[in-house]
Point group: C2
Chain length 569, copies 2
């Protein structure tokens, strides 16, 4: 008799596993069960369906060649049985039986298995707040919710929306609502920055400014207390600091792994409830595999277990599980937490640890920040990317984050470093990183190399930096116990404007004239050096040090960062 | 007394080294000598200056902030002395003296050094052919030549151009001449494909078709015998097979390292004359460093010495040398030979070994080829990338090459794998490669993962492939001892058109109906399976095998490859 495989959950990991098993072992009997009515869809596409970029919800359920991946498709094309609206209720590990229930009729039945796969995914966190069950309060968990939101906005029913949570999905939803439907959109976030933990406060401020420029309002460091409605529909969001009108609320405050059935069956789970699996994606029961948003996997940077609810990892893990079910020994070695997000005309991407994450992991780290062109500076259409490299003081590279204009250039830089992070590269390896070079695609010394060089200069004490946010705090404090030494050339107009606007506080001595005009450098106050992107001011710091004028700090990323940031000078 | 550093050559490596030394040790005395009149320019930008994308030649000599990097700039801004039109004639290693000669006056003088750096670069190969010294025959070696070409084309003096050599620079020059100046442009190449050795015949054919669609003519497998002129100016190129009219000839047939001075001084050089350096970029004389286009560096894939005349590597090596001159111990660990080139609306990129290179290195390897989308298939504006992965039969990944539309998406995929190649990744690592994922930038299962999965299927014998070129040969042979089984759906129009056009040779059975229509599958001839991108035909192969219809082969990359290739069906 052929092997019997039962798969619980049919969104991302389940279908991938099922297809892989059938490809490797055509006579395997594979049954997928799904408690919802729809299967095998691209949940990550929901914001683009809400925005209208994706026209019909069926596109998120279709193959590249426009076949809808429904139970008929799986049966017909893949030889996989699918039971929708069927809930897994209990695993009998002894008997190797899965007890299931028809969601509509309540009728229970049993499925025998040789190998069981738990692709139960996760559900959005839905804090137990007053009014959370009002109409118009959505999490973004499935296509039905997506359709609900799209119908509301398309019907002109929404003039004010509140998004709770400035993580990836929250920001994508905010863009969708604001950009395509011109809805007054406010994002409420409990942390003091966007994408908390994922990017530095500097990059977060730049992303925030860009989204504000596109009409999104942000309320940071704000706690939501509840919701108020009329006739069962939400009308207001109550914050600690006041009340916001809202016809639509999107809650995107994290996800919880669906592992109750695994826990009840006695499978090992980690501290946040995610299932513990080995690198073959096997649970503590050798006949039960799990993967996707319900497992913990090793963080390849820290070596500690992590939780990465990403569709991309689910797909790869599904293939690994499929291979192993038929007797292979494929491995999923862990994750470095790569991400990308498009925010209007910006892209933000990262991998590995942010400085904050590194410190939370007890690592003594620094963060270098550079502004640099995405292609040769003489090539038409160049743009500036902000790139940050997080490095342990030992020299080991822990993470990379970047922000740039939309398009693939920023993501490409992060993608070049992300796969290396599992190999624990040092700064020198990134300094010499060999990106494919040609003027239309990169600089001879690419920005990835430049950010590693900057990190090297910080680690070796050759460079003393101040971050954009630190400078902003200094500037906004109102105290003027420092002088900004602007190293840009006189052909730039900005330095002269600022010099006139802030006499005695902002002084312009072009870098090229610094040696000759060394006597003009103010000596009684701390110097903050600034130039266009931070390169000339770095050189100025070296000249000043050599001249015995020590203690200056160099603004990381230069005026390019200031212009992208929230700061008003 | 401070350290004296003399640097021979001031184009790429020299300036980088000089600046690094001065940053680390401001009181070092650094002298750069250059036999030409111009220094510190971006030679890789020459095609874009010829095309007019870069307006003025000074832009190739400028910093990002429009300062021209001339001797005054280096003295004033960097504290580096520059002697232009000065040739290095002899190294006295005993006395640590460099003998130099003024190119204009012939006067000789001496420069003492503590550390000498040879950044002498390379010169274009200029085969000793009859007529090679006629006016209008250019190599693309420096800005003066670039200006000569630009002046000719801008003055309307050129109606027919011949480019010799279909390498990177040759193809870039062909694009520049054809695209911007509408010149009848023919590329003559001695090998039987574009970019020989760098990409597969399949990718080369696709690039060739694209350039032909933009009006460039190609003559492959053609040897140039010489040039004929009138009044000292070239008018014809003589080939073995005939004669081509030409007002302009651009020769781009490789470069020769400038190492005569090193050889004469007894420094160790490799088989092609490039200087041997250790990973600190030190020559066999510990006080003499070398880098850039005149050295050999280790190929990190093969472990053998290689020659990589690329401006990007020169810059990184310059920094390493600068660090080491002042007592550091920076390393340049080798190269994997990453490249990128823009060809009209296509980008082509690669890293590591092509299949041909792998075989030349005695490695038993295969090449997987996939066609896939550069972002989620439901996201607007998606494009198809062709990606190839070269894998040793042991499972070790040796190289990656790709072709796609212009923009950074193709380069991004190559960039994600290139840095890993030095770590000798296996196929499984690429299958699980963790690119930053979001629908606007990638698929959940990205094309990089897909090409590794395809390689895995080939290695494990689960997939039998035929390359696009193999299929083309089969088709064009005229023999019809095979049947094309087209697995695409009936909603595609192409399958029905071909079925009607080639009765009995082209048969369309949609993949989804294959199990039911298994009796319709022709059994007397070899089956070539085809679908849109190669995924459904792979599944069809598995179904056929399970049904006992073995021996079929699957067209790698599917119809997407056929459409991009040179083939006419």
């Amino acid at each position: 008799m052929s092997i019997q495989v039962v798969i619980v959950g049919a969104v991302a990991l389940g279908p991938k596993t099922a297809c892989r098993v059938k490809r490797l072992m055509p006579d395997a009997q594979v049954t997928m069960i799904e408690q919802g009515g729809r299967i095998s869809y691209g949940g990550c596409g929901i914001p683009y369906y809400v925005s209208g970029d994706v026209n019909d919800v069926s596109e998120l359920q279709s193959t590249s060649f426009h076949m809808v991946r429904d139970p008929h498709f799986f049966k017909h094309s893949k030889g996989v049985d699918v039971l929708t609206r069927t809930k897994a209720v209990r695993i009998d590990r002894q008997a190797k039986v899965l007890h299931v229930r028809d969601v509509d009729t309540g009728v229970e039945s049993q499925l025998d298995y040789d190998k069981l796969v738990l692709g139960t995914g996760s559900r959005p966190r839905r804090p137990d707040l007053p009014g959370v069950d009002l109409g118009g309060v959505y999490t973004v968990s499935n296509l039905t919710e997506a359709e609900g939101i799209r119908k509301l906005v398309q019907g002109g029913k929404v003039s004010k929306a509140v998004v709770i949570g400035a993580g990836f999905i929250g920001l994508e939803m905010a863009e969708a609502l604001r950009d395509m439907w011109d809805i007054e959109t406010t994002v409420v976030e409990i942390a003091d920055q966007l994408l908390p933990g994922f990017v530095s406060p500097d990059l977060a401020a730049m992303a925030q400014k860009h989204m504000q420029d596109h009409g999104v309002t942000f309320l940071l460091s704000q706690k939501v207390l509840g919701f108020e409605g009329e006739a069962g529909t939400v009308r207001r969001v109550v914050l600690e600091s006041g009340v916001l009108d809202a016809d639509l609320v999107v809650m995107s405050v994290g996800v919880i792994p669906n592992t109750e059935i695994a826990v009840e069956a006695g499978l090992e789970v980690g501290p946040n409830g995610a299932i513990v699996v080995d690198e073959h994606m096997r649970t503590s029961d050798a006949d039960i595999y799990a993967g996707g948003n319900n497992v913990q996997v090793m963080n390849q940077v820290t070596g500690k277990p992590g939780f990465y609810p990403l569709g991309s990892l689910a797909n790869r893990q599904g293939r690994v599980i499929g291979t192993n079910i038929v007797g292979g020994s494929a491995r999923f070695r862990g994750a470095v937490g790569s991400f990308a997000v498009k925010l209007f005309d910006y892209s933000v991407a990262g991998a590995g640890l942010s400085l904050e994450m590194a410190r939370r992991n007890g690592l003594d780290a620094i963060c270098a920040h550079v502004s640099g062109f995405d292609r040769a500076h003489f090539f038409p259409g160049k743009d500036i990317i902000q790139l940050e490299l997080v490095v342990e003081r030992s020299g080991r590279v822990l993470g990379i984050q970047g922000l740039g204009n939309k398009g693939d250039a920023t993501v490409a830089r992060v993608a070049a470093v992300a796969p290396l992070l599992a190999h624990h590269p040092d700064v020198e390896e990134i300094s010499n990183l060999e990106l494919p070079y040609s003027p239309p695609f990169s600089s001879a010394m690419d920005i990835v190399n430049a950010v590693a060089n900057a990190a090297d200069n910080i680690l070796t004490g050759r460079s003393r930096m101040v971050s954009f946010q630190e400078f902003q705090k200094l500037w906004e404090s109102g105290e003027r116990d420092f002088v900004v030494l602007d190293c840009r050339d006189t052909q730039d107009t900005e330095p002269a404007v600022y010099e006139a606007k802030y006499p005695g506080v902002w002084v312009n001595i072009p870098h090229n004239d610094l040696r000759e005009r060394i006597a003009d450098v103010p000596r009684n106050k701390r110097l903050v050096l600034i130039c266009g992107t931070g390169v000339r001011s770095h050189e100025a710091q070296i000249v000043l040090d050599a001249e015995g004028i020590g203690g200056s700090v160099n603004l990381q990323g230069g005026a390019a960062s200031l212009r992208r940031g929230l700061m008003n000078i």
